[in-house]
Symmetry: C2
Subunit: 153 residues, 2 copies
DNA sequence: ATTGGCAGTGACAATCATTCTCAATTCTTT
DNA sequence: AAAGAATTGAGAATGATTGTCACTGCCAAT
């Protein structure tokens, strides 16, 4: 078992219980190729666990974000999306490529080291200058993907 | 008159009319220190132009985004925010520093050249690899600002 | 100058993701 | 088993955004 299982301990240490919804929501996030919305997760679970309500999904996601077990993203499509944070998931750090037409999102991990180096340097300088504790960053590129480019004659 | 006035030509060339709402919405964006939401703009205008409705604000903003005269941002507070794009505004290119507590947003222009150089290089490589026309990028850092840090004893 | 047509508009209704409320249920610890 | 707290689900409420529709104002052709 790698680090990615320690979320249980993490929750319990804070007095939260391990419940079915929490188990399976994390499971869904782990098995997916990411960027699921609350509704996506609900749909996915509904097959096997019809008893779990959407409200619970939202509540659980909020808790997990707060515990930094998952990360919440806002790509411009008016709904939040979630993915396991690196520490608890198996995915490598990545950034996003967003198609503004079909809102498809591509994760890329290329050239990431170079980016991260710069980011780290920048973070340090910004924290000092603006007295700001930086906890995370977002880098994303927006544009038009191949398929959408084809479509627009 | 600098480039920042050419949005009129831009609209007209596409067959759109120059109307009061369009004029004043751009004016508000130009005079503000940015990141206004649709409602912010509505409030601002309502004093002098009570006849302009919120719907028109939304419609105009959508049009201006489409024309790339303004840029739409989604910081995680569940409402879109807008700023003039560089080409039509006077602001220098900048990135964002977001406080996750009070949602205050700091624009920073420091170290931006270094960042842009890397970004440009990365964009080129990504476009090639993923067959993706990149039109814009977002870099933002999230964290806790000085004031909020103080508050949380 | 009239008219036809369409861009532009505002009030209001509708939508949709998310949050709130509250009563019921399930743990955990006695 | 019982108390007390955490967790839950259904449904209502919220709030930003979008859709509808009738009305207005502008421009071009007659």
């Amino acid at each position: 078992m790698g680090k990615h299982c320690q979320w249980r301990e993490r929750l319990q240490k804070k007095g939260y219980r391990l419940t079915i919804p929490r188990e399976v929501i994390i499971e869904v996030l782990r098995n997916s190729t990411s960027h699921l919305s609350a509704e996506d997760i609900y749909m996915e679970l509904h097959k096997k666990y019809p008893a779990i309500g959407l409200t619970t999904i939202y509540r659980t996601l909020e808790l997990l974000v707060q515990m930094k077990i998952i990360v919440k993203f806002d790509f411009g499509d008016r709904r939040s999306r979630y993915e396991l944070s690196e520490k608890y998931g198996m995915k490598k750090h990545h950034h996003h490529l967003i198609c503004s037409q079909c809102t498809k999102i591509i994760d890329y991990t290329d050239f990431i080291n170079e980016e991260l180096e710069l980011i780290e340097k920048t973070e340090k300088r910004l924290m000092k200058k603006y007295n700001f504790s930086i906890t995370s960053h977002v880098i994303s590129f927006t544009g038009i993907c191949l398929e959408c480019k084809k479509d627009q004659t």
